[in-house]
Structure formats: structure tokens, C-alpha cells
Symmetry: C2
Subunit: 233 residues, 2 copies
DNA sequence: GGCAGAATTTGCGCTGGCGCAAACTCGGGG
DNA sequence: CCCCGAGTTTGCGCCAGCGCAAATTCTGCC
């Protein structure tokens, strides 16, 4: 197998604090894979063998309840590390990771984590910082689900997606991977019907444009107002 | 100031992997404080100066929304580390910590974290594992809030409290700190009224006994059934 | 180019749980 | 021992949003 090229990771914040030589060394123990759209990188409850960095694409992290309902824990964007649960002491993955589009992924065996974290402290520190951020984001989500109405939650979710993965087009900020009403419902704890009704209403008002598996935010400002207003519009 | 005694921490899992000498050294940089019931150990959004270990008591971690609503992020029990956000790269506390009863707490300046984590790897590793667990717990909570009815959520919350902080008495498992209907509502994303109605119903059925700021679980098994059943009772 | 299946939209009725309000109870401080 | 205030209970009306169902519109594949 040919060695992986340093250019794969040198532009990513996660590796930026490493020297070129360190980057090369880190890559030596990595394996690169492609995943077609809608295939799983790993499955909930299975043995955690590796942790990953997303090189290209978008990944949906999904938790499934015992009775089969799904909840989207988060989306992973290019450059992010994921599947690190085992680095934090778990032996199985707490969720599944599914390619939202065709993806390229680097994988390291979990067994290497302690050694890598020791040898590349900046890499370990960045990872722990990421985990800390995710904990806070998740708690924010709990707060939103406790205190906000569905309309506000969906507005918040769209704004977050637009900020994190939005691509500026001439007609607004487009979420740059396919996302269905059902997906948005699973992110916000509601039903696809309610999401559909909300998006229709917002489209009438010119706040967004949406199509099949596609949403473009035209007027983020008004969406912010919706997200923050405590009373109805 | 007198040196802190090793017996304070030697029984705690967090420090168990350290040698007696290491424990003593770790304590050298710690400061011990008492907090009266209902006083804050730290406040949301303030500069994170320290991280903490709870030696005695119970602590409520609370996040407040911009418009003043409160959500209880979690309860901290004896022996747990808390206020570690800064160790994960944050500069301010993302939540407030309030003593649910009179508490004794050890505090370390955050500036020491990198050094301590390096010098006592087992201590660092345990902490990161704790953070990982909390991330997973929080995601589980998101899942519950997305897919379960209020009754199930409250049942789950009580079971968790009973397991984590329950004290066996002759009449059942008693949650061993004062907890109001309002508190339970803030843990489960509902109102104190609904919690009160549920507890009354459960008390009629002999599943629990409750009083002012007190809940005793008499029949955990039936509570599990309520927590898991997808249809109404 | 047409078709099958997936995604979306929309109508309608119902209900879980909230908001409001009032009464009640308990426990601690004076 | 009594009083005050915090905590709790309970009734009542209402409505946001769900469940169900059916129609409609894409879109990728054959």
C-alpha cells in the first residue's frame, strides 16, 4: 500500500500544530477508505476498533432507540475527528456513522490512541477540546428541547447547519449535502410533517428556498428572529 | 494552611490508580472549601479559574437560558470531578454549580491542569473517560426527549437518581438530597405541575412515596415498566 | 421516456401536557 | 406555639403539534 500523502491532512486544523515530519509519521499508521453515500462507517453497539478523521464528504451520526426510532446526534464535516468514544474509555460505538454523501475517511486503530496521544500532545489536546465542545453543544440541545417550541428548534437547527456546512450561492446559503424533512425532524425531536409545514410557511415568506433534500437559507436574519422569539409569529 | 489529608481522596475511584505519594503531591496544589446549601461553587459564563472534586455532598449543575429559564444539566455525587470545561479548552464555565446540600469541595487552579495531567496520566485518563461518559449520557437524554413521553422521561429520571444517589431505607430507595417537583421538571423538560400529577398517581399506586423535597422509590420494577412502555397505563 | 418508489405536502381530528389560578400543607423561624 | 412562605396539589380550558391518510411531485433507473 502506498504511503498516504501529507497534503491530505496538512490543511486541517486538527493537524496544523504538528510538524510536517509528525504529520507523515501520524499518517503512517492510518488507513484511508472511501464510503459510498448511505453506507455505514461504523454501527452502534459494535466493537470500537478505530477512530476516524473525515477527509471529504459529510457524515451523519445516528442513535437508534431500542424500538427503532432514530435520532441524529450530529453531522460531521470535513476535517473533523469522529468515532472517538473508545479513546474515552468505551469499548463499543454509542452511535452509528453513515455517509451522507460519498466520503473519504482516515482510520486509526484504537489501540494506537494512547501512544499517539502521548507522542503528539497537540493532537490529543485538540481532540479533547473537540469532545468538550460536543458535550457543550449537546447540553445546549437539551436546553433547547426543554425550553423552546418546535418552530424555534427547527430554526436553530437550520441556522446551525447553514453556519457549519453552508455553501454560499447566488440565491443564499445552501446546506451542501442532501437533507430530508425526516432528517431535520430527527435532529429537532419532531415529525417530518411538522417540519414540512414550517418550511412551507418560511418559503412563502421568502426566508428560505427548499426542494427535495435541499434547503437554502435566503434570509438568515429573519430566521434568527424566529429562533429567538419567545412568542409566535 | 495545614496540608490536606490523603484520606480525603484515597477512597475515591478517581485517585485510586495513584500511589500514596502521588496522592499527597496532588493534594499539595489543592485547596479545600465548604459551601453551604444553595450557594454557588461557580457561575455560568464567569471565568473558569479552577476545576473541582466533590468530597462530600451533592451538587446541581444548572444552565440558564438568556430569558432566565433553568435546566438541570446533571447532579454531581461524592467523588466526582466537575467544572472541567476549562481543561477541555473553554475559558468560561458553561453552567453554574450549586450546592444541593452543604458540601466539601477540593479545587485546583486550571492553570495546573496540563502539568497535572502529564504528571498523573491515570488521573487525566479517568477524567477524559468521565467526560466521555457524560457526553454519552447527555446524548441519551436528547434521545429520550426526542422520542419519549413526559411520563417515561420522569420515570427514567427517578430511576437514574435512585441508582446514582439512592440510599436504601426500610421503605425503599430514597434519593438522598432534597429535590423538588420543580427540580425534576427542570431535569426532564416539563413543568412542576405535570411532575406533581405523575408523582401523585404513582404514589396512589404504591410505586413511590414522596414528600416535600423528598422522593422514595418503593417499586423500581414497576417504574422500569413505566419508563419503557411505549403506550399509556 | 416512462415508471416505480421516495420524498413532500396538506387536510383533519384529537390529545398530552401546558398555562393559569386557587387552595392547601408543611416546616422552620421568631 | 403560631405564623409565614415555600413547596405542592388539583381543577379547568386550551392549543401546539402529533397521528393518520391521501394526494402530489420529484428523480433516478431501466
Amino acid at each position: 500500500m502506498a504511503a498516504l500523502d501529507r497534503s491530505l491532512i496538512s490543511r486541517l486544523p486538527l493537524f496544523r500544530e504538528l510538524t510536517p515530519d509528525e504529520q507523515i509519521e501520524l499518517l503512517r499508521s492510518a488507513r484511508s477508505s472511501r464510503y459510498a453515500k448511505d453506507t455505514a462507517i461504523f454501527e452502534q453497539e459494535t466493537d470500537a476498533h478505530s477512530f476516524f478523521v473525515l477527509i471529504a464528504g459529510h457524515i451523519r451520526v445516528v442513535r437508534t432507540t431500542p424500538d427503532g426510532q432514530q435520532v441524529i446526534a450530529r453531522y460531521i464535516s470535513e476535517g473533523e475527528i469522529f468515532g472517538v468514544a473508545a479513546a474515552l474509555g468505551r469499548t463499543t460505538y454509542p452511535a452509528s456513522a453513515v455517509a451522507a454523501v460519498d466520503c473519504v475517511v482516515l482510520a486509526w486503530p484504537n489501540a494506537l490512541w494512547p501512544e499517539l496521544a502521548r507522542r503528539f500532545p497537540a493532537f490529543g489536546a485538540t481532540t479533547y477540546r473537540t469532545v468538550g465542545n460536543r458535550l457543550q453543544e449537546t447540553q445546549t440541545r437539551v436546553m433547547e428541547m426543554s425550553t423552546e417550541q418546535v418552530e424555534q428548534r427547527v430554526a436553530h437547527a437550520l441556522l446551525r447547519l447553514a453556519n457549519q456546512t453552508g455553501r454560499k450561492t447566488d440565491s443564499g446559503i445552501e446546506i451542501d449535502f442532501p437533507i430530508s424533512r425526516q432528517d431535520i425532524a430527527e435532529m429537532t425531536g419532531t415529525t417530518l410533517h411538522t417540519v414540512s409545514r414550517l418550511l412551507s410557511k418560511w418559503e412563502e415568506r421568502g426566508i428560505i428556498v427548499s426542494g427535495r433534500q435541499k434547503v437554502t437559507v435566503k434570509d438568515p436574519h429573519r430566521l434568527v428572529v424566529l429562533a429567538e422569539n419567545r412568542d409566535k409569529g
